[in-house]
Structure formats: structure tokens, C-alpha cells
Homo-oligomer: 376 residues x 4
């Protein structure tokens, strides 16, 4: 008989729902020999938690995350709450000896991320951070193309994650614009960490960087109409040198008018180039320098069953791949980590590596200079 | 307490799995006040059915579709088998008084489709045909733009559904190329009916058409290596006049080298145009003739929470929409039809309308002339 | 010393200017060992002709095209006037023994085109018809890819030339909408002949076709505000079978909202596919079926110095190719025909082949049936 | 009678030919009331100059640029030689009181560019620098959209000019890789200055920047097969702050595999965004934040006669715009400057502004710090 894993999810917002869908369907999609149970949902009020649990298909609910973590019938913890909660919840879950999936970014600072990482490594509990976009089959394909050496040595990595969810100056402020709830990093934390994670995954560790950040709109209306100070970056850009010597650049923004999912990267190598843009998610563009000059060009590869993790969802190429499908891949990975008791990328340490970059960016901005990652 | 609907699915291939995923997750995605149960799965052998039921999360299994249909704990029937089975299964399900979802095309001929339709209307049982692509939020948006009058009166509809799954002359034959199992229609039936359905949905009823069909490769290797005769079209094209007087064209193919999901339509109207191509599924292109000439052009609208059925899956625009997500919309629609006991598009009658076009195409080819739909 | 060719151009509108630019610059672009002289310009009034000649750099002018044709210092004739003038002018030029370049379409009917063709072949005078788009380096590359066999045997050709210059129902009528000045063919003649010419060039001779034409707006305002009857098609579509057995389709329109240069073709073959769209003129898309499935896709080839006729204009790929550059290629071809006294494609006979298709389309529409080209 | 301007061109390579074509056709294209004469061509050997003059349509030739500059029948000077020659030639031409067009970049250093600029301003002679891409109608349209305020205040400018002409490590070295003939700047000078010029034109003056440069391949084979040291950057990236406070970034490369004309910029403003990419040269993409959310998106505007400088070339939109057409616009501008004796953008001072950025980039790299432009 198949093993049962009972999940407790903290947070019932945007990501909480996505994870609920994922845990519900992942076993069918991947033919997992595991029964995934949405055991308990936690959110801020008991009443809300009860309603959300019913809506999202959880068996039980609570308004106390400590109750959820310590519940004997909760086998694994999913933290889908804002960043300022991750440290405390994560440590508690690790101390309870339960596998932890934590939404990105891992923590409010590299120091906090390191605490979580070290505790995880001490306890040996499986961990994972929720960097989902890099798990899209197209993103995996682009990564595979780089790692396989098909485009040779990397010469340049250009990454963006630009959206416009705060482009409207009159859009009401929320927890994302304040240091206490988000962190000193704004777009950098919210979307930038996704593309930083991709950069590290695809092109390897960074040696140093120089950064600039900007607040486009210094205040925003709060829900009560008062002007609220925006405390972190609306847009950020930085340049890196990888340990390999390659160059790179990152641009992240929440005020990039017209961009809805501008998560993209282009990797230039000595034998070719590869590019991916999540706004046209079903395709990867590959240039091979060895092609005959009169027949060379970027090839638009439509992702399909020949590519990583696609076949489980559909047997036909280019039939569409959804947001929740990426979350299902994460669920499969998290379950794999639990069942096999082995690290599955990205672990808390990988999340810490991202947060170090964030800290380095902020320091570079503060001190207006190149910063080495090993300073952090 | 929420109502429970127990589904029996016949067929555990490609579509069977997709429906299993859909029934598993639909209630969470759409916050349905219904509990959907994957009750029973039927496939050709008892052993296979048992294994597939376990893999796909069904409670029970059988190798006899009549058993499934008559089982008292099966509330609704999902037919996900090849076309030649639809008539008999569909009639049996209707006679059992159970709501029926049937994969497209509805039947092997317009006559069979009409039998199913009339029986459904006599019994009053809710029915639905599995035309999923038109339920993609982007396709729904394009449809909405036409129906709202935003582009004025339709002047032209150009539709394609072209793929290359049989482009390779050495690809082994299967049930799709034989009249007994597929029908006299090949690509026309397999992919063409999807875009015919879209055409009727978007631009209205057809008055007459003239068609041509072609078998590119007269034989294909069977699994045993022998040459098998290809009995239906590899590619088809036809021109229509709608009852409105507008012109239209359809191109369907299973040998369109390089096309993986060439389901597309462009509608030209007196006030603008709209275009959709499922190979770039997250976007709809809209041209408004009233724009200032120096600032006019096709606008690339990225589908998001402002658009039909998207928000249930994700709150961010352009975050991806998957194949199985479309099937979940179908599941939601089927459930709605059952719960509310009212027809939800596309019913068997809508499926019959598609099959009439198929018959008219074949007759036009046979007789090398324009054929009026009311001849069928 | 280099040979001098003195050109007389009839017509000073849109095309007259383009040819003037082309004759002025072609020798420099192509390093021709010929001096091209814009000798004489003819338009409807003496005064206008004089002004236009000054503006466009012609040495002399006239309001009588017979004077131009018979002038002893005019070596070659360029007819850039509306179609209803081509027959008389063309015959006169041929009778004068002077090489003739004639704008497309060659004539008002296949019969007239045949008269011109037979006279040209009797006299042995070099002729050319102004089908310029197919001479774009990208269109030439796409053609070369088909002719070389790179995509195998042709299975399907889909061509369009759709624009929206008459989409606005209130756009004033001009000579293009009347049978006397344009012909019984409207968009079919004006833009359709371009893509018919491409079809014949790329995929070979047509055996039969079935067509439909439509007038979207039955009247248009004349310059004096009165309603003028539109006498020829606003949009047309037809399906063909090539002599090779391949299928094809054509769509032409002058009411295709949002399309400005929808000259495109996609050719599907047994070994791959190639596509070209003049709205993105610098690129050709090539799919090779022999690529590894996990790395296959349409390759976007940016036209450059490796491709036909590009290098004369620029040494860098994708640096832009202009409308007048195509006309310069035509000028080079016409000069080559004159200097070498040999036919250069497309001759009057090639223009006649296009006009036969036009006549067949009109007959198919009149008689609502498939028409064989050899009936024309 | 129209005025005659006799041009002397120094250099008969790539750019020399382009300018010869431009001077030949510009009067016809723009209906200039000026006769442009290709009077004299200068290149390194007398024999070569004679042959090239014949090929390109010049009346006379020389191997001594001083002879060309001082020739009394040469009215204006066009310098189309590598950068290391610009200072001396430019000063000589200015001292001769003759209008000077100089290819980009203006000089080998900001200091040299300043010398040229100051001499030009002392003498009052019209000058121009050959930044042609920004004169493409699409680039002009994008510029106009920013300057008109249609997208509000600029928040971010992202520019690239990336190509792959030196991506092949075995491609033979030429003057472009050596400091003596090109400058300390490689890709930065060769292509980077084009996009720097666009940045300054579109988004205004820069206050400070931080830069990184890289040599991907330290040596290249010389023509004799020996390894030649590459002395300047293969790729460069830098971040800027404009005086307005907006952020910006530039990426230039000659090793960007697959990119043939990656001259692109995206400008994000408080009311919208605009993007242009010369690899799809006929289109500009405009996003207006004031559009209804459900109908918003980037609008693909196809450049046509409604847009700057297009109508002179063709009356139909999206009919193609060539490399030499851009050079003709430059010729028209240069002639305008001469005839009207007034500065026409970009003058030597504008060229100096670009070269200051280049110097600042090199200093930022040397000193690994942010550099203010007013330090240069």
C-alpha cells in the first residue's frame, strides 16, 4: 500500500491555493506511489481558516501555525506566507523534525537564511524553497542546453524578471512595499530572487556584483487613503561577474509598464546561445554557431514530451503548461525529498545563495561599489 | 453538506488521464460546492483497468463499459475512447439516464451524431462534447471580442488546426488512419473538428462549403511492419460561406511539418480584427480600426485575471495556462450542467453541428462541388 | 566605355517614383557596366510631366506615351500605369522593338496577356513584369529552399496577400474598384496576383482551382461624395491542386483590418517546411524534419550576405532591406535581359500564367465549380 | 536652377559604398532642390581609388585625402574611414571651411572629439556624425513617442547593440580589435556607440555610470595566421543614472552568438512603454497604461507613411525600409545642414557626447567604480 504524506499549509492566499491544487493532483499527474493529503490549513483567523480549508479541500484548519507544525498528523510543512514569517516558522518546523517547503525568498536577509540553512543541515530534515519558474519544462530545457555544453562556455547571462503590478502610482500599497513585512528588498525580493535563482542555476556561482536600486514612487496610498512610504525598490539592476569569469546582468522591476511575466534569460556561449521568455512560455530559442551560415538562426523549440517533466502532463507538444503545473513539479520534488530523504534542488542552502546575492545588491547600492559575494 | 458526483470514465489513454486529473482538482480550482469522485475506470482488460485505476486515482475498475454505465454508484459518464465507440456507449449512457461527457468528435457521421442528439434531447439528460481548446481563456477572450461587436460585423474567418504527428511517413499507423475506428475523416476528424467547432462558435452557422482532402502517404507501416492502407485524409482544406454572408476557410492537417499545435483563427470584421494561435497560448491580438492611424496596430493582450476563467487558476496575468487546465474548465462546465440540469455548451447538438460540417466536407470532396449544409 | 541605356517611364505615381529611384541607383548598387539614364517621363498633362520629371530626375517629359515610345533616344520602356493601359502601350512598345518592363498585373484578362506575350515572343524583345516582392532576398531564400529539395516534395502551399487599404468603408473609391480601369478582379488583381506569382514560382504550375470572391462594401464614396459602385472583389480565396498533386490555397484581401503587408507563404514538404511573411521581412523560418526531435523547431534565418542579392546592398546581415531595393533588383534584372538579350524571369509569359489563374478564379466564382487552368 | 553640391568621399569600403548610393538617390527620394554630385573618391592606392570611383559612380579619384579636401570642386567632405583617421581628416576639412560628415564614432577619445567639436564651432562649418540607425523611421517613431510625453516620465531605458561578427574565435582579426586603429574601445566603439547615441537622444543626458568590459578571446589569428592580441572589448555592459534620475543600462557585444542586428531599446515610463528592435525593423511596440486592463497590451505599430521620413520612400506601410535608406536620410540631413547653414542632429558636439560616455565607461572599468560624466 502506498505511503501517505499529510501536508500542513500555512497561508491561504495566492500561493496557498496553488499548493493545495498541486498536492491534490500531483499523485495522479506523476503516478506517485504516495497518497498526498491536504491535512491542515492555517491562516490568521479561525473562521477564515475554516472557510478556506473547505474551499481548498483541507481536512482541518487552525489560526495558530504552531499548532499546525506540532500536530502529530501533519507530516510535512508548507510555508506560503510573507517573508517576515519564514524564519520563525521554518525553525519551528525544523525543530519539529518535519520536512519544510518554504516559499521564496527564503528569508529577510542572508543571515536569517543562513540560520535556517544551518539548522536544516544540522537536523538533516529535507527542505525546499519555492522557486517555481525554473521548473517550467521550457526553463528546464534551456538549463539543460547550457549544462550539457551545447552552447559551449558561457560568455554572458542576461536575466530579467520585470512585471508591472505596481506600475500604477495609485495602486494601493500592501505588505510588499514595507521593510518590516517584505524586507529591505522590494522588486528585488519579490521577482528578482526568481531570476537570481535562475542565474545561479544556469550559469553558476557569482564572484562579485555592482548594483543600483530605485524607488519610482516614494509613496503609495494605503487602504485608508493615507500616503504610505514605499520602503524598498520598485526597480533594480545589477551586473555580475561569475566565478567562471563570464559576465552577467539582472534587471528586476515591479513598475515595468506592460510586462506581466517578464521572466527571461539569454545565455551566450562560445558555441551558441539559448533564450527563454516566460511570456511565451512554450518555447526555447536555440542558436548553434556550428550551423551553416546560410542556414543559421535561432531555432524555436516548442516544448513537448521529449523535454523534462512535460510528458507527465500531456503527450502532445505545445499543448500548454500552466502555473499550477509548475507547482505540481515542486510538489513532486518535495515529496521525492521526503520519501528518499535526500536533498532535492533548491534546498534551503540554495535559497541562502539567492539571499546572499540580495544582500550583496543592497550593500553595493549603499556603498556605491562592487561587492564580492564572499563579503556577505 | 456538498453534493457528491461520482464519475465513471471509459478509456484510460491520453484523454482518460487528463480527465482524471481534471476531476481530481476541479473542485479546488473552482471552489465548487460539489465533491467529485473518480468512481470507476473502464478499459479493455480487467488487469489494465485495475492498474490504471490505481495510477489515476479511481476507486474501482472494470473491463466492461456496460457495467460501468449501469453501476448504481456511477452518477455521470465520461467517454474518452476512439470515435467508433461513441454511438453505442453514448446511447447506453443516455438510456441509463446518466449525464454524458463524450470526447470529440461526437460520432462517426452526422447521422450517428443526430441519433445521439435526439436521444439526449428526448431524455433531457445533460450532455457535453469535449472541445477543449475553445475553452482556453485566450480563445474565450477572442470569442468574447467577436461576440461583443468590438470588431464589428465579421467579414472573414480563417481557421487552422495543423500539426505534424503523422508527418513522418514511417510513423506507425494506428486507429486514427482507418475508417472503421476513426471514420472516413482523418485529420479532418482528429484536429479539424476542433477548429470547425471554433468557427461555428465564433462566427456562426455555415450555409455552404467547398472542400478538398488529400492523403499524403497512401500507406504506413503497421506495428507488425506490414504496409497498412491509410484510409482517411492527412490534410484537408475548405472554404465556407456563413449564413451571415461572411467568408471563411479551414485548413487541417496531421502532416504539417513543424507545427505542434497550429490551432489558430483570425477574424476580420468591419471595425477591427482579432487573432489567436495556440502555439503562443497566452496572447490574443486585437486590432481596432478606430485607433489613430499613426498609433494603430495589433495589440498583444496577455491573458490574465481580467479574462474569462483565468482567475480561478492564478491571480497573475501571463503566468501560464496548461492543457489540463482546459480540461478542468470542461469538468466545471459538465458539473454545472449536471447540478443545474441545464445545457452547457457544447452539447451533443453542438457536436452534431460539427459533424454535419465533416459530412458536408466529405460530400463536397466526393462530388467536387459546393455543398449546402442543409443537404446533410 | 560602358553601355548606356536610356529609359522612358510611363506613369509618375507611386511606382513611377520607385522605378526612378531604382534606375538612378542600380548601377552603383550592382556595379553594372551600364549607364542607366532616366531619359523621359510621361504622365497625363504636359505640365505635370515636366514637374514630375524635374522632381524624379528625368531629362525630358511628355504627356503622350506614343511620343515616349517612339522617341529614338529612349532605349527601353517602363510601363507604370494602371492595368487598363498595359495592352495598348505594351503592344506599341514591342512593335517599336523596345524592351518593355510592365507593372503587374500584365493585363486586364488572360486573353490580353496572351496577346502581349505572343507579340513579345514573335518580336524577340526582352520583357518583364513587375512582380517585385518575390525578389526580396528573403523571398528568394525561401524559394531557393523549396527548389533545392531541402524540404522534400511539396505537400501544401498556403499563400496570402492581405492588406487593409480599403478596409475603411468611407475611404474614397479610385480606379482600383472599377472594372474599366482595374479589371473584373479587385484585390485579386491588385495584391492577389503578387501571391499567385509567388505560388507559381515556388510550387509550380496549377492544374485546377475552386474560388470564391466577395465585395464587402458594395458602394464607396467617390471624390465628389456620390456613392460609387464597387465592381470588383474586396476579398477572394481559392484552393488549388498543383500539377504535382500538392494542395494549395490563396487568400487575398484589401479589407483585412490591421494587415499592412500580409504577403506570406508557408510551404510544407515531405522533409520540412519553410515560411515567409513580408511583415517581418528580414527573416525566413525553416523547419527540418530530420532534426533530433528534442531539438527541432522552426529556425529563424535572418537574411544577410550569404543569401541571394543581399550582399550588393549591405555586408551585414539583418541590416534592413527596402521597398526600393526590391525595385532595384528588378531594374538589374531588366537591364540584364536587355544587355544579354535573354529572357529574365518573370517575362510576359510568366505574367500571362498569373493572369490565367485570375481568369480561372473569376470563372470558378461565376460558375460555382472547380475550373481547370487549361480551360482558360 | 537647383544648387549643386559636390561631395568628396574618403573611404571606399562598406560605408563608402553606402554613402555613394545615398548621394546618388537622395535627391530623387526627397525631391531635394539640390543636385548631389559624387565628385571625388579617395582610398589608399591610386589604382584602387580609380577602380572604386568607376564602380561607385564618382567622377574623379585620388589616393591622397588632403588632395580631396583641398580640391576646389569638392564642396563637402564625407569621412568613411576607420576612427584613427577622423581627427586629422576632420580638422583639415574644417580648416578648409568645408562641411564635414564623419562616420561614427567621431574620434578615438573624448579629448579628440572635443577638439573636433570646438574647431567646428569656431569655424561655424556644418558637421554631422554618422549615427544612422536612430534615423530609421521606426527608431524615429519610438523617439517621438518618448519625447511627446505619451509614455510619461522615463523610469528606465534598456538598450542593446549586440551582434556576433566576432563570435567565431577563428575569425581573422582586423583593424577593429586594435587600439591604434579602432581605439581602446572595441564593441563599445563599434556598435556600442550607436546605442549610446540612441540612449542620449531618447532619454537625455547621463549623470553617472558604472561599467564592465570583457575580452572573450584574448587572441585572434591575423591574416598571416599568427596570433594577434585582441586589445579592446568583445563585450561591455554598463548601468547609468540619467540627469533626470531615471535608470538605464547598455549592453554591447560583438560575440553575441546568433544576433545579427541586436540594436534595441525599451523605454519604460510612468504612462506606458515603448520598444524597438532593429532585427524586426518595421515595427514599434507601444504599451499605454491608460488602456482598459482587459484590453491592454503592447501594440505592434507597423511603420508607414504616417511616420517620420517613411513616405518619401514608399506610400504603403510595412513595405520595407533598407539599410541604404537610412543613409539617404543622413544624406538629406547633411544637405539640409549645408544648404540652410544650420546644425542638424547629430553634430560633432553630439558625437562628442557619445565619446564622453565611452571614456567614462573605460575609466569606470579601470577604476572599478561609478564615474560621473562631468569627470570626463
Amino acid at each position: 500500500m502506498s505511503r501517505k504524506i499529510r501536508i500542513g499549509v500555512i497561508g491561504s492566499g495566492y500561493m496557498g491555493k496553488a499548493h493545495a491544487i498541486a498536492y491534490t493532483a500531483a499523485a495522479t499527474v506523476f503516478d506517485l506511489d504516495v497518497e498526498l493529503v491536504c491535512e491542515m490549513l492555517c491562516t490568521t483567523t479561525a473562521e477564515g481558516a475554516k472557510a478556506d480549508a473547505k474551499r481548498l479541500g483541507f481536512r482541518r484548519s487552525t489560526d495558530d501555525w504552531r499548532v499546525l507544525i506540532s500536530d502529530p498528523d501533519v507530516d510535512a510543512i508548507n510555508i506560503s506566507t510573507p517573508p517576515f514569517t519564514h524564519l520563525e516558522m521554518g525553525l519551528a518546523a525544523l525543530d519539529a523534525g518535519k520536512p519544510v517547503f518554504c516559499e521564496k525568498p527564503l528569508a529577510m536577509s542572508a543571515a536569517d537564511a543562513l540560520s535556517l540553512t544551518e539548522r536544516a543541515e544540522e537536523t538533516g530534515v529535507p527542505t525546499m524553497v519555492g522557486y517555481n519558474y525554473i521548473k517550467h519544462p521550457s526553463a528546464q530545457l534551456a538549463t539543460e542546453i547550457v549544462h550539457s555544453g551545447e552552447i559551449g562556455e558561457v560568455l554572458h547571462f542576461a536575466g530579467t524578471h520585470i512585471e508591472d503590478y505596481f506600475h500604477d502610482a495609485d495602486a494601493p500599497a500592501n505588505w510588499r512595499v514595507q521593510q518590516r513585512t517584505a524586507s529591505r528588498a522590494g522588486a528585488l525580493s519579490d521577482v528578482g530572487t526568481h531570476i537570481v535563482n535562475a542565474m545561479l542555476r544556469v550559469a553558476g556561482p557569482v564572484e562579485r556584483l555592482v548594483a543600483d536600486t530605485d524607488i519610482a514612487y516614494p509613496t503609495r496610498p494605503a487602504n485608508d487613503g493615507a500616503a504610505l512610504t514605499v520602503e524598498n525598490d520598485d526597480q533594480v539592476q545589477f551586473m555580475v561577474r561569475f566565478e567562471s569569469g563570464a559576465m552577467g546582468s539582472i534587471h528586476a522591476s515591479r513598475v515595468a509598464a506592460g510586462k506581466k511575466m517578464g521572466y527571461s534569460f539569454t545565455v551566450t556561449g562560445t558555441k551558441g546561445s539559448v533564450a527563454f521568455d516566460l511570456e511565451q512560455p512554450g518555447e526555447v530559442h536555440l542558436f548553434s554557431a556550428s550551423d551553416d551560415a546560410a542556414r543559421s538562426g535561432f531555432k524555436r523549440i516548442l516544448t513537448g514530451p521529449e523535454h523534462p517533466d512535460y510528458m507527465n502532463f500531456c503527450l502532445g507538444a505545445a499543448h500548454g503548461f500552466g502555473y499550477n503545473d509548475m507547482i505540481m513539479i515542486e510538489a513532486r520534488d518535495f515529496v521525492t525529498a521526503i520519501v528518499e530523504q535526500k536533498p532535492v534542488w533548491p534546498t534551503f542552502r540554495d535559497g541562502y545563495d539567492v539571499d546572499r546575492i540580495v544582500d550583496a545588491v543592497l550593500r553595493s547600492k549603499d556603498e556605491e561599489r562592487w561587492v564580492r559575494i564572499d563579503e556577505i
